[in-house]
Protein backbone atom coordinates (compact mmCIF):
# COMPACT_ATOMS: atom_id res chain seq x y z
CA UNK A 1 0.00 0.00 0.00
CA UNK A 2 2.88 2.37 -0.44
CA UNK A 3 4.95 1.62 -3.51
CA UNK A 4 6.36 4.82 -4.93
CA UNK A 5 7.91 4.97 -8.37
CA UNK A 6 9.81 7.91 -9.81
CA UNK A 7 10.32 7.85 -13.57
CA UNK A 8 12.68 10.39 -15.10
CA UNK A 9 11.61 12.85 -12.46
CA UNK A 10 13.43 16.14 -12.79
CA UNK A 11 13.30 19.57 -11.21
CA UNK A 12 14.54 22.88 -12.49
CA UNK A 13 14.34 26.23 -10.74
CA UNK A 14 14.53 28.55 -13.72
CA UNK A 15 17.75 27.71 -15.49
CA UNK A 16 19.20 25.75 -12.60
CA UNK A 17 18.71 22.03 -12.81
CA UNK A 18 18.42 20.83 -9.22
CA UNK A 19 17.51 17.27 -10.03
CA UNK A 20 18.46 15.80 -13.38
CA UNK A 21 16.14 13.01 -14.65
CA UNK A 22 16.09 10.39 -11.95
CA UNK A 23 14.58 6.93 -11.59
CA UNK A 24 13.85 5.28 -8.29
CA UNK A 25 11.50 2.67 -6.94
CA UNK A 26 10.53 2.53 -3.30
CA UNK A 27 8.94 -0.76 -2.36
CA UNK A 28 5.96 -1.09 -0.07
CA UNK A 29 6.92 -1.10 3.60
CA UNK A 30 10.49 -0.08 2.96
CA UNK A 31 12.40 2.37 5.12
CA UNK A 32 14.31 4.43 2.59
CA UNK A 33 16.77 7.10 3.62
CA UNK A 34 17.87 9.86 1.27
CA UNK A 35 21.28 10.94 2.42
CA UNK A 36 23.77 13.42 1.04
CA UNK A 37 25.60 16.63 1.87
CA UNK A 38 23.55 19.82 2.21
CA UNK A 39 22.31 21.19 -1.06
CA UNK A 40 22.34 17.81 -2.77
CA UNK A 41 18.64 17.98 -3.59
CA UNK A 42 17.43 15.39 -1.10
CA UNK A 43 14.85 17.68 0.48
CA UNK A 44 13.70 18.85 -2.93
CA UNK A 45 13.24 15.24 -3.99
CA UNK A 46 11.13 14.60 -0.90
CA UNK A 47 9.04 17.70 -1.57
CA UNK A 48 8.50 16.53 -5.14
CA UNK A 49 7.17 13.24 -3.83
CA UNK A 50 5.01 15.11 -1.29
CA UNK A 51 3.66 17.38 -4.01
CA UNK A 52 4.83 20.57 -2.32
CA UNK A 53 6.96 21.26 -5.39
CA UNK A 54 5.87 20.64 -8.96
CA UNK A 55 8.04 18.36 -11.06
CA UNK A 56 9.56 19.88 -14.20
CA UNK A 57 9.35 16.56 -16.00
CA UNK A 58 8.84 12.85 -15.51
CA UNK A 59 6.24 10.95 -13.56
CA UNK A 60 5.57 9.99 -9.96
CA UNK A 61 3.40 6.97 -9.27
CA UNK A 62 2.04 5.96 -5.90
CA UNK A 63 0.72 2.39 -5.81
CA UNK A 64 0.72 2.35 -9.57
CA UNK A 65 -1.58 5.36 -9.83
CA UNK A 66 -0.12 8.46 -11.48
CA UNK A 67 0.30 11.12 -8.80
CA UNK A 68 2.33 13.71 -10.66
CA UNK A 69 -0.50 16.21 -10.92
CA UNK A 70 -2.30 15.36 -7.68
CA UNK A 71 -2.30 18.02 -4.95
CA UNK A 72 -0.40 17.05 -1.78
CA UNK A 73 -3.53 16.20 0.19
CA UNK A 74 -4.73 13.71 -2.43
CA UNK A 75 -1.53 11.68 -2.50
CA UNK A 76 -2.21 9.92 0.77
CA UNK A 77 1.19 10.79 2.18
CA UNK A 78 1.99 12.32 5.55
CA UNK A 79 4.99 14.48 6.25
CA UNK A 80 6.99 15.34 9.35
CA UNK A 81 8.82 18.62 8.95
CA UNK A 82 12.20 19.68 10.26
CA UNK A 83 10.64 22.48 12.34
CA UNK A 84 7.76 20.10 13.27
CA UNK A 85 5.36 22.74 11.87
CA UNK A 86 2.90 22.22 14.72
CA UNK A 87 0.01 24.66 14.90
CA UNK A 88 1.00 26.74 17.94
CA UNK A 89 -2.50 27.94 18.85
CA UNK A 90 -4.00 24.47 18.96
CA UNK A 91 -3.70 21.92 21.74
CA UNK A 92 -1.84 18.69 21.05
CA UNK A 93 -5.20 16.94 20.62
CA UNK A 94 -6.35 19.47 18.04
CA UNK A 95 -3.04 19.32 16.24
CA UNK A 96 -3.32 15.57 15.88
CA UNK A 97 -7.00 15.83 15.00
CA UNK A 98 -6.48 18.46 12.30
CA UNK A 99 -5.97 16.12 9.32
CA UNK A 100 -8.92 14.00 10.48
CA UNK A 101 -11.12 17.06 10.85
CA UNK A 102 -10.13 18.20 7.39
CA UNK A 103 -11.04 14.79 6.06
CA UNK A 104 -14.48 15.20 7.65
CA UNK A 105 -14.14 12.13 9.86
CA UNK A 106 -16.80 11.66 12.55
CA UNK A 107 -15.93 12.57 16.12
CA UNK A 108 -15.95 9.04 17.58
CA UNK A 109 -13.51 7.75 15.00
CA UNK A 110 -11.32 10.81 15.50
CA UNK A 111 -11.20 10.23 19.26
CA UNK A 112 -10.40 6.57 18.79
CA UNK A 113 -7.50 7.28 16.45
CA UNK A 114 -6.14 10.11 18.58
CA UNK A 115 -6.21 7.93 21.68
CA UNK A 116 -4.41 5.16 19.83
CA UNK A 117 -1.73 7.47 18.45
CA UNK A 118 -1.27 9.22 21.78
CA UNK A 119 -0.77 5.91 23.51
CA UNK A 120 1.71 4.68 20.92
CA UNK A 121 3.71 7.90 21.28
CA UNK A 122 3.40 8.42 25.06
CA UNK A 123 1.46 11.61 24.60
CA UNK A 124 -1.70 10.75 26.54
CA UNK A 125 -0.84 13.06 29.43
CA UNK A 126 -0.04 15.98 27.16
CA UNK A 127 -3.08 16.01 24.90
CA UNK A 128 -4.47 19.24 26.33
CA UNK A 129 -1.23 21.18 26.31
CA UNK A 130 -0.09 23.57 23.65
CA UNK A 131 3.01 22.81 21.57
CA UNK A 132 4.79 25.72 23.24
CA UNK A 133 4.62 23.90 26.59
CA UNK A 134 6.31 20.75 25.29
CA UNK A 135 9.95 19.77 25.03
CA UNK A 136 11.64 19.23 21.69
CA UNK A 137 11.23 15.48 21.79
CA UNK A 138 7.56 15.73 22.71
CA UNK A 139 6.91 18.17 19.88
CA UNK A 140 8.59 15.75 17.55
CA UNK A 141 6.25 13.02 18.75
CA UNK A 142 3.21 15.25 18.22
CA UNK A 143 4.34 15.85 14.66
CA UNK A 144 4.66 12.11 14.16
CA UNK A 145 1.26 11.61 15.81
CA UNK A 146 -0.31 14.03 13.39
CA UNK A 147 1.18 11.98 10.58
CA UNK A 148 0.19 8.51 11.78
CA UNK A 149 -3.48 9.20 12.56
CA UNK A 150 -4.14 9.65 8.88
CA UNK A 151 -2.93 6.10 8.22
CA UNK A 152 -1.11 7.26 5.10
CA UNK A 153 0.36 5.17 2.32
CA UNK A 154 3.79 6.47 3.21
CA UNK A 155 5.50 8.76 5.69
CA UNK A 156 7.90 11.45 4.62
CA UNK A 157 10.42 12.74 7.14
CA UNK A 158 12.41 15.86 6.37
CA UNK A 159 15.43 15.90 8.69
CA UNK A 160 13.14 15.41 11.69
CA UNK A 161 15.86 14.98 14.28
CA UNK A 162 18.18 17.83 13.39
CA UNK A 163 16.64 20.18 15.98
CA UNK A 164 17.13 17.75 18.87
CA UNK A 165 20.14 17.35 21.10
CA UNK A 166 22.42 14.37 20.62
CA UNK A 167 21.03 12.16 23.40
CA UNK A 168 17.42 12.74 22.38
CA UNK A 169 18.29 12.11 18.76
CA UNK A 170 19.48 8.59 19.55
CA UNK A 171 16.25 7.93 21.47
CA UNK A 172 13.99 9.28 18.74
CA UNK A 173 15.93 7.32 16.12
CA UNK A 174 15.00 4.13 17.92
CA UNK A 175 11.39 5.22 18.35
CA UNK A 176 11.03 5.93 14.66
CA UNK A 177 12.62 2.57 13.81
CA UNK A 178 10.23 0.84 16.19
CA UNK A 179 7.31 2.73 14.70
CA UNK A 180 8.35 1.45 11.31
CA UNK A 181 8.39 -2.14 12.48
CA UNK A 182 4.95 -1.85 14.11
CA UNK A 183 3.26 0.08 11.30
CA UNK A 184 5.13 -1.61 8.44
CA UNK A 185 4.34 1.44 6.31
CA UNK A 186 6.67 2.86 3.70
CA UNK A 187 8.85 5.59 5.12
CA UNK A 188 11.08 8.01 3.29
CA UNK A 189 13.52 9.78 5.50
CA UNK A 190 15.81 12.64 4.54
CA UNK A 191 18.97 13.32 6.50
CA UNK A 192 22.49 14.57 6.06
CA UNK A 193 23.65 12.40 8.93
CA UNK A 194 25.04 9.14 7.63
CA UNK A 195 24.77 7.56 11.10
CA UNK A 196 21.00 8.01 10.99
CA UNK A 197 20.99 6.57 7.51
CA UNK A 198 23.05 3.53 8.46
CA UNK A 199 21.11 2.75 11.63
CA UNK A 200 17.56 3.18 10.35
CA UNK A 201 17.45 2.38 6.66
CA UNK A 202 16.40 -0.72 4.79
CA UNK A 203 17.68 1.04 1.72
CA UNK A 204 19.92 4.06 1.46
CA UNK A 205 19.85 6.42 -1.50
CA UNK A 206 23.04 8.49 -1.63
CA UNK A 207 22.54 11.73 -3.49
CA UNK A 208 25.01 14.28 -4.76
CA UNK A 209 23.99 17.34 -6.78
CA UNK A 210 20.64 15.76 -7.53
CA UNK A 211 22.19 12.57 -8.89
CA UNK A 212 21.73 9.20 -7.28
CA UNK A 213 25.25 7.98 -6.55
CA UNK A 214 24.26 4.60 -5.17
CA UNK A 215 21.23 2.73 -3.87
CA UNK A 216 21.58 -0.20 -1.55
CA UNK A 217 21.32 -1.62 1.93
CA UNK A 218 23.51 0.04 4.54
CA UNK A 219 25.98 -2.84 4.54
CA UNK A 220 26.13 -2.97 0.72
CA UNK A 221 27.15 0.65 0.76
CA UNK A 222 29.65 0.03 3.51
CA UNK A 223 31.19 -3.02 1.92
CA UNK A 224 31.08 -2.03 -1.70
CA UNK A 225 30.81 1.71 -2.24
CA UNK A 226 30.34 2.27 -5.95
CA UNK A 227 32.56 5.32 -6.12
CA UNK A 228 34.87 7.57 -4.14
CA UNK A 229 32.04 9.89 -3.04
CA UNK A 230 29.98 7.12 -1.47
CA UNK A 231 33.12 5.63 0.03
CA UNK A 232 33.96 8.91 1.72
CA UNK A 233 30.40 9.64 2.77
CA UNK A 234 29.33 6.35 4.32
CA UNK A 235 31.14 5.17 7.41
CA UNK A 236 32.28 6.93 10.55
CA UNK A 237 35.05 7.93 10.97
CA UNK A 238 35.52 8.62 7.27
CA UNK A 239 37.39 6.26 5.01
CA UNK A 240 41.02 7.18 4.31
CA UNK A 241 41.39 7.90 0.61
CA UNK A 242 44.94 7.75 -0.72
CA UNK A 243 46.28 8.70 -4.11
CA UNK A 244 49.77 8.65 -5.56
CA UNK A 245 52.34 5.93 -5.00
CA UNK A 246 50.28 3.89 -2.53
CA UNK A 247 47.43 3.75 -5.04
CA UNK A 248 49.75 2.98 -7.94
CA UNK A 249 51.07 0.03 -5.96
CA UNK A 250 47.55 -1.39 -6.17
CA UNK A 251 47.23 -0.47 -9.83
CA UNK A 252 44.56 2.24 -9.52
CA UNK A 253 44.01 5.98 -9.08
CA UNK A 254 42.70 5.99 -5.54
CA UNK A 255 42.61 3.46 -2.77
CA UNK A 256 40.35 3.63 0.24
CA UNK A 257 40.98 2.05 3.61
CA UNK A 258 38.45 2.32 6.40
CA UNK A 259 39.91 3.35 9.79
CA UNK A 260 38.75 0.06 11.31
CA UNK A 261 40.62 -1.94 8.67
CA UNK A 262 44.02 -0.61 9.69
CA UNK A 263 45.79 -2.75 12.26
CA UNK A 264 48.26 -1.24 14.69
CA UNK A 265 51.41 -3.40 14.56
CA UNK A 266 54.56 -3.29 16.66
CA UNK A 267 56.92 -2.88 13.74
CA UNK A 268 56.97 -2.96 9.98
CA UNK A 269 53.53 -2.37 8.43
CA UNK A 270 52.76 -0.35 5.31
CA UNK A 271 52.55 3.03 6.94
CA UNK A 272 54.70 4.52 9.65
CA UNK A 273 54.00 7.87 11.22
CA UNK A 274 53.45 9.94 14.33
CA UNK A 275 50.22 10.23 16.25
CA UNK A 276 48.74 13.72 16.00
CA UNK A 277 45.57 13.41 18.04
CA UNK A 278 44.57 10.38 20.05
CA UNK A 279 40.89 10.08 21.07
CA UNK A 280 40.39 7.52 23.84
CA UNK A 281 36.74 6.49 24.04
CA UNK A 282 37.29 3.34 26.09
CA UNK A 283 35.49 1.04 23.72
CA UNK A 284 37.55 2.36 20.83
CA UNK A 285 40.60 4.49 20.31
CA UNK A 286 40.90 6.82 17.34
CA UNK A 287 44.31 7.98 16.14
CA UNK A 288 44.94 10.72 13.62
CA UNK A 289 48.33 9.74 12.27
CA UNK A 290 50.65 12.04 10.36
CA UNK A 291 52.53 10.04 7.79
CA UNK A 292 55.50 11.65 5.99
CA UNK A 293 54.67 12.44 2.40
CA UNK A 294 50.89 12.49 2.96
CA UNK A 295 48.90 15.72 3.10
CA UNK A 296 45.99 14.47 5.19
CA UNK A 297 46.38 12.68 8.48
CA UNK A 298 45.25 9.09 8.38
CA UNK A 299 42.47 7.99 10.73
CA UNK A 300 42.83 4.70 12.55
CA UNK A 301 40.30 2.97 14.71
CA UNK A 302 41.66 0.46 17.21
CA UNK A 303 39.27 -1.44 19.43
CA UNK A 304 39.57 -1.22 23.14
CA UNK A 305 42.14 0.75 25.02
CA UNK A 306 45.49 1.25 23.34
CA UNK A 307 48.26 2.85 25.35
CA UNK A 308 49.58 5.19 22.69
CA UNK A 309 49.50 8.98 23.01
CA UNK A 310 50.20 12.14 21.09
CA UNK A 311 53.63 12.16 19.51
CA UNK A 312 54.21 8.39 19.72
CA UNK A 313 55.40 6.62 16.59
CA UNK A 314 52.93 4.11 15.16
CA UNK A 315 53.05 1.36 12.53
CA UNK A 316 49.95 0.52 10.52
CA UNK A 317 49.10 -2.47 8.38
CA UNK A 318 45.93 -2.41 6.26
CA UNK A 319 43.89 -5.60 6.01
CA UNK A 320 44.68 -6.64 2.46
CA UNK A 321 41.19 -7.86 1.52
CA UNK A 322 39.51 -4.70 2.82
CA UNK A 323 41.22 -2.22 0.53
CA UNK A 324 38.85 -0.44 -1.86
CA UNK A 325 40.23 0.46 -5.27
CA UNK A 326 38.90 3.23 -7.53
CA UNK A 327 39.80 4.14 -11.11
CA UNK A 328 40.44 7.50 -12.80
CA UNK A 329 36.73 8.38 -12.84
CA UNK A 330 36.42 7.55 -9.17
CA UNK A 331 34.49 4.34 -9.88
CA UNK A 332 35.06 1.15 -7.95
CA UNK A 333 37.30 -1.52 -9.42
CA UNK A 334 36.17 -4.91 -8.20
Amino acid sequence: MGRITLENVQKRFGEVEVIPPLNLTIEDGEFVVFVGPSGCGKSTLLRLIAGLEDVSGGEIRIDGRPATDLPPAKRGLAMVFQSYALYPHMSVRKNIAFPLKMAGMDQAEQDRRIAKAAEALNLTDYLDRRPGQLSGGQRQRVAIGRAIVREPAAFLFDEPLSNLDAALRVGMRMEISELHTTLATTMIYVTHDQVEAMTMADKIVVLRAGNIEQVGTPLDLYREPRNVFVAGFIGSPKMNLLEGEHARAHGCKTIGIRPEHLDVVDSGGTFTGKIGVAEHLGSDTFFHVHIPGMAEPMTVRASGEVGLRHGDPIHLAPQADKIHRFDDKGLRIS
Partner: protein
Protein backbone atom coordinates in the same frame (compact mmCIF):
# COMPACT_ATOMS: atom_id res chain seq x y z
CA UNK B 1 28.12 49.04 43.27
CA UNK B 2 28.44 49.90 39.62
CA UNK B 3 24.83 49.01 38.98
CA UNK B 4 23.73 51.06 41.97
CA UNK B 5 25.61 54.03 40.60
CA UNK B 6 24.42 53.65 37.06
CA UNK B 7 20.86 53.20 38.29
CA UNK B 8 20.85 56.46 40.20
CA UNK B 9 22.63 58.20 37.34
CA UNK B 10 19.98 56.90 34.97
CA UNK B 11 17.25 58.18 37.25
CA UNK B 12 18.89 61.56 37.44
CA UNK B 13 19.27 61.83 33.70
CA UNK B 14 15.77 60.71 32.90
CA UNK B 15 14.29 63.08 35.49
CA UNK B 16 14.03 66.20 33.24
CA UNK B 17 12.15 64.26 30.59
CA UNK B 18 9.79 62.78 33.15
CA UNK B 19 9.30 66.21 34.68
CA UNK B 20 8.46 67.84 31.35
CA UNK B 21 6.07 65.03 30.48
CA UNK B 22 4.34 65.29 33.83
CA UNK B 23 3.98 69.06 33.52
CA UNK B 24 2.69 68.77 29.96
CA UNK B 25 0.14 66.18 31.00
CA UNK B 26 -0.75 67.14 34.54
CA UNK B 27 -1.25 70.88 34.19
CA UNK B 28 -3.88 70.70 31.43
CA UNK B 29 -5.55 67.79 33.21
CA UNK B 30 -5.66 69.68 36.51
CA UNK B 31 -6.92 72.82 34.80
CA UNK B 32 -9.66 70.83 33.10
CA UNK B 33 -10.59 69.20 36.39
CA UNK B 34 -10.70 72.60 38.04
CA UNK B 35 -12.87 74.16 35.32
CA UNK B 36 -15.19 71.17 35.25
CA UNK B 37 -16.39 72.02 38.74
CA UNK B 38 -16.79 75.72 37.89
CA UNK B 39 -19.46 77.71 36.12
CA UNK B 40 -17.16 79.43 33.65
CA UNK B 41 -18.72 81.23 30.68
CA UNK B 42 -16.28 83.97 29.56
CA UNK B 43 -18.69 85.53 27.02
CA UNK B 44 -21.21 86.19 29.79
CA UNK B 45 -18.45 87.08 32.22
CA UNK B 46 -19.60 84.43 34.69
CA UNK B 47 -17.07 82.69 36.84
CA UNK B 48 -18.26 80.67 39.82
CA UNK B 49 -15.29 78.57 41.00
CA UNK B 50 -17.32 75.79 42.66
CA UNK B 51 -20.72 74.56 41.60
CA UNK B 52 -20.17 70.88 42.53
CA UNK B 53 -21.18 68.26 40.01
CA UNK B 54 -23.73 70.41 38.18
CA UNK B 55 -21.69 70.49 34.95
CA UNK B 56 -21.32 66.70 34.99
CA UNK B 57 -25.01 66.17 35.63
CA UNK B 58 -26.13 68.49 32.86
CA UNK B 59 -23.58 67.10 30.40
CA UNK B 60 -24.60 63.49 31.01
CA UNK B 61 -28.33 64.10 31.16
CA UNK B 62 -28.53 66.06 27.92
CA UNK B 63 -29.89 63.97 25.04
CA UNK B 64 -26.91 64.87 22.85
CA UNK B 65 -24.59 62.98 25.23
CA UNK B 66 -26.15 59.55 24.69
CA UNK B 67 -26.39 60.21 20.97
CA UNK B 68 -22.76 61.25 20.78
CA UNK B 69 -21.63 58.11 22.64
CA UNK B 70 -23.64 55.95 20.24
CA UNK B 71 -22.21 57.83 17.24
CA UNK B 72 -18.68 57.44 18.60
CA UNK B 73 -19.13 53.69 19.05
CA UNK B 74 -20.66 53.32 15.59
CA UNK B 75 -17.81 55.22 14.02
CA UNK B 76 -15.02 53.44 15.87
CA UNK B 77 -16.66 50.05 15.27
CA UNK B 78 -17.23 50.70 11.60
CA UNK B 79 -13.71 51.94 11.01
CA UNK B 80 -12.23 48.99 12.89
CA UNK B 81 -14.27 46.49 10.86
CA UNK B 82 -13.27 48.03 7.54
CA UNK B 83 -9.60 48.50 8.37
CA UNK B 84 -9.15 45.01 9.80
CA UNK B 85 -11.03 43.15 7.08
CA UNK B 86 -9.40 45.29 4.41
CA UNK B 87 -6.02 45.15 6.12
CA UNK B 88 -6.01 41.35 6.22
CA UNK B 89 -7.05 41.16 2.57
CA UNK B 90 -4.41 43.68 1.49
CA UNK B 91 -1.73 42.06 3.64
CA UNK B 92 -2.39 38.67 2.06
CA UNK B 93 -2.33 40.22 -1.41
CA UNK B 94 0.87 42.17 -0.76
CA UNK B 95 2.53 39.05 0.57
CA UNK B 96 2.30 37.48 -2.89
CA UNK B 97 5.38 37.95 -5.02
CA UNK B 98 4.46 40.54 -7.67
CA UNK B 99 6.31 42.78 -10.05
CA UNK B 100 7.10 46.16 -8.49
CA UNK B 101 6.36 44.96 -4.96
CA UNK B 102 8.33 47.76 -3.30
CA UNK B 103 6.51 50.53 -5.18
CA UNK B 104 3.12 48.94 -4.54
CA UNK B 105 3.83 48.71 -0.84
CA UNK B 106 4.82 52.38 -0.65
CA UNK B 107 1.66 53.33 -2.53
CA UNK B 108 -0.44 51.35 -0.10
CA UNK B 109 1.14 53.13 2.85
CA UNK B 110 0.76 56.59 1.26
CA UNK B 111 -2.71 57.53 2.66
CA UNK B 112 -1.26 57.35 6.15
CA UNK B 113 0.98 60.33 5.37
CA UNK B 114 -1.89 62.56 4.26
CA UNK B 115 -3.07 64.98 6.96
CA UNK B 116 -6.59 64.24 8.22
CA UNK B 117 -7.88 67.68 7.24
CA UNK B 118 -6.50 67.33 3.74
CA UNK B 119 -7.83 63.85 3.16
CA UNK B 120 -11.25 64.85 4.49
CA UNK B 121 -11.33 67.82 2.09
CA UNK B 122 -10.22 65.65 -0.81
CA UNK B 123 -12.94 63.11 -0.08
CA UNK B 124 -15.55 65.79 0.46
CA UNK B 125 -14.87 67.72 -2.73
CA UNK B 126 -13.47 65.12 -5.05
CA UNK B 127 -15.62 62.09 -4.23
CA UNK B 128 -18.70 62.96 -2.21
CA UNK B 129 -19.64 66.27 -3.82
CA UNK B 130 -23.14 65.96 -5.30
CA UNK B 131 -22.49 68.18 -8.32
CA UNK B 132 -18.89 67.47 -9.23
CA UNK B 133 -17.87 64.47 -7.16
CA UNK B 134 -16.51 61.38 -8.86
CA UNK B 135 -19.18 59.23 -7.24
CA UNK B 136 -21.86 61.48 -8.68
CA UNK B 137 -20.37 61.07 -12.15
CA UNK B 138 -20.29 57.34 -11.59
CA UNK B 139 -23.95 57.30 -10.55
CA UNK B 140 -24.90 59.44 -13.55
CA UNK B 141 -22.90 57.22 -15.87
CA UNK B 142 -24.89 54.26 -14.55
CA UNK B 143 -28.10 56.24 -15.09
CA UNK B 144 -28.79 56.66 -11.38
CA UNK B 145 -29.70 59.65 -9.28
CA UNK B 146 -26.52 61.10 -7.67
CA UNK B 147 -26.38 60.30 -3.98
CA UNK B 148 -25.52 62.96 -1.43
CA UNK B 149 -23.26 60.91 0.79
CA UNK B 150 -22.47 63.53 3.40
CA UNK B 151 -26.05 64.45 4.20
CA UNK B 152 -27.79 61.13 3.55
CA UNK B 153 -25.21 58.72 4.95
CA UNK B 154 -23.00 61.04 6.99
CA UNK B 155 -21.65 58.58 9.56
CA UNK B 156 -20.88 56.05 6.85
CA UNK B 157 -19.12 58.72 4.79
CA UNK B 158 -16.88 59.72 7.68
CA UNK B 159 -16.22 56.08 8.47
CA UNK B 160 -15.06 55.62 4.86
CA UNK B 161 -12.75 58.63 5.03
CA UNK B 162 -11.13 57.64 8.32
CA UNK B 163 -10.95 53.98 7.34
CA UNK B 164 -9.13 55.00 4.17
CA UNK B 165 -6.56 56.79 6.32
CA UNK B 166 -6.07 53.98 8.78
CA UNK B 167 -6.12 51.08 6.35
CA UNK B 168 -2.38 51.45 5.61
CA UNK B 169 -1.56 51.19 9.30
CA UNK B 170 -3.56 47.99 9.70
CA UNK B 171 -2.16 46.61 6.46
CA UNK B 172 1.41 47.31 7.49
CA UNK B 173 1.14 45.62 10.88
CA UNK B 174 -0.81 42.67 9.51
CA UNK B 175 1.61 42.29 6.60
CA UNK B 176 4.57 41.86 8.92
CA UNK B 177 2.53 39.32 10.86
CA UNK B 178 1.64 37.42 7.69
CA UNK B 179 5.28 37.38 6.70
CA UNK B 180 6.31 35.92 10.04
CA UNK B 181 4.16 32.83 9.52
CA UNK B 182 6.40 29.85 8.83
CA UNK B 183 5.79 28.40 5.40
CA UNK B 184 6.22 24.91 6.82
CA UNK B 185 3.03 25.37 8.85
CA UNK B 186 1.08 26.18 5.72
CA UNK B 187 2.67 23.28 3.91
CA UNK B 188 1.85 20.97 6.80
CA UNK B 189 -1.76 22.13 6.63
CA UNK B 190 -1.73 21.53 2.90
CA UNK B 191 -0.46 17.99 3.44
CA UNK B 192 -3.14 17.55 6.10
CA UNK B 193 -5.72 18.17 3.43
CA UNK B 194 -6.77 21.70 4.37
CA UNK B 195 -8.15 23.65 1.39
CA UNK B 196 -7.37 27.35 0.97
CA UNK B 197 -10.18 28.68 3.17
CA UNK B 198 -9.35 26.22 5.95
CA UNK B 199 -5.69 27.24 5.87
CA UNK B 200 -6.82 30.85 6.21
CA UNK B 201 -9.32 30.11 8.97
CA UNK B 202 -7.32 27.62 11.05
CA UNK B 203 -3.73 28.70 10.46
CA UNK B 204 -3.38 32.24 9.13
CA UNK B 205 -6.14 33.94 11.12
CA UNK B 206 -5.09 32.53 14.54
CA UNK B 207 -1.53 33.50 13.69
CA UNK B 208 -2.72 37.05 12.98
CA UNK B 209 -4.84 37.30 16.13
CA UNK B 210 -2.08 38.96 18.09
CA UNK B 211 -1.45 41.56 15.41
CA UNK B 212 -5.19 42.13 15.08
CA UNK B 213 -5.56 42.88 18.78
CA UNK B 214 -2.64 45.29 18.60
CA UNK B 215 -4.25 47.05 15.65
CA UNK B 216 -7.59 47.24 17.49
CA UNK B 217 -5.99 48.66 20.61
CA UNK B 218 -3.89 51.32 18.91
CA UNK B 219 -6.57 52.34 16.45
CA UNK B 220 -9.28 52.58 19.10
CA UNK B 221 -7.17 54.97 21.13
CA UNK B 222 -6.66 57.22 18.12
CA UNK B 223 -10.13 56.82 16.65
CA UNK B 224 -11.87 57.93 19.84
CA UNK B 225 -10.39 61.36 19.21
CA UNK B 226 -11.28 61.72 15.52
CA UNK B 227 -12.07 65.36 14.99
CA UNK B 228 -10.74 66.98 11.81
CA UNK B 229 -12.71 64.71 9.49
CA UNK B 230 -15.99 65.63 11.19
CA UNK B 231 -15.12 69.30 11.41
CA UNK B 232 -14.25 69.53 7.72
CA UNK B 233 -17.11 67.48 6.31
CA UNK B 234 -20.32 67.81 8.34
CA UNK B 235 -19.40 70.12 11.18
CA UNK B 236 -21.11 67.74 13.53
CA UNK B 237 -24.44 67.93 11.76
CA UNK B 238 -26.62 65.01 10.62
CA UNK B 239 -25.87 62.93 13.70
CA UNK B 240 -22.10 62.86 13.26
CA UNK B 241 -21.45 64.46 16.62
CA UNK B 242 -19.05 62.24 18.50
CA UNK B 243 -18.12 62.70 22.12
CA UNK B 244 -14.97 64.58 21.17
CA UNK B 245 -16.93 66.84 18.89
CA UNK B 246 -19.57 67.47 21.55
CA UNK B 247 -16.91 68.60 23.99
CA UNK B 248 -15.53 70.95 21.35
CA UNK B 249 -18.99 72.39 20.69
CA UNK B 250 -19.69 72.92 24.37
CA UNK B 251 -16.43 74.76 24.92
CA UNK B 252 -16.07 76.80 21.73
CA UNK B 253 -19.50 77.11 20.19
CA UNK B 254 -21.51 77.51 23.41
CA UNK B 255 -18.58 79.16 25.13
CA UNK B 256 -19.35 77.10 28.22
CA UNK B 257 -15.90 76.09 29.47
CA UNK B 258 -17.16 74.47 32.66
CA UNK B 259 -19.60 72.20 30.82
CA UNK B 260 -17.03 71.36 28.16
CA UNK B 261 -14.39 70.54 30.75
CA UNK B 262 -16.80 68.21 32.52
CA UNK B 263 -17.44 66.54 29.16
CA UNK B 264 -13.70 66.26 28.60
CA UNK B 265 -13.20 64.52 31.94
CA UNK B 266 -16.06 62.13 31.17
CA UNK B 267 -14.47 61.40 27.78
CA UNK B 268 -11.13 60.69 29.48
CA UNK B 269 -12.83 58.32 31.93
CA UNK B 270 -14.72 56.51 29.16
CA UNK B 271 -11.58 56.23 27.03
CA UNK B 272 -9.73 54.78 30.00
CA UNK B 273 -12.45 52.20 30.59
CA UNK B 274 -12.17 51.14 26.97
CA UNK B 275 -8.39 51.10 27.23
CA UNK B 276 -8.45 48.91 30.36
CA UNK B 277 -10.75 46.41 28.65
CA UNK B 278 -8.59 46.34 25.55
CA UNK B 279 -5.40 46.04 27.56
CA UNK B 280 -6.81 43.01 29.30
CA UNK B 281 -7.78 41.36 26.05
CA UNK B 282 -4.46 42.18 24.46
CA UNK B 283 -2.59 41.07 27.57
CA UNK B 284 -4.38 37.74 27.47
CA UNK B 285 -3.65 37.39 23.79
CA UNK B 286 -0.01 38.31 24.15
CA UNK B 287 0.51 35.84 26.97
CA UNK B 288 0.41 32.70 24.88
Amino acid sequence: MATQHSRSAARLMIAPAVFVLLVWMLIPLCMTLYFSFADYRPMRATFEPWIGFDNYVSFVTSSSFTNSVITTLQMVGGILCITIAGGIALALLLDQPIFGQGVVRILVIAPFFVMPTVSALVWKNMFFNVDNGLFSYLYKALGLQPYDFLSQAPVFSIVVIVAWQWLPFATLILLTAVQSLSSEQLEAAEMDGAPGWARFWYIILPHLSRAITVVILIQTIFLLSVFAEIFVTTNGAFGTRTLTYLVYQRVLESQNIGLGSAGGIIAVILANIVAIFLMRIVGKNLDN
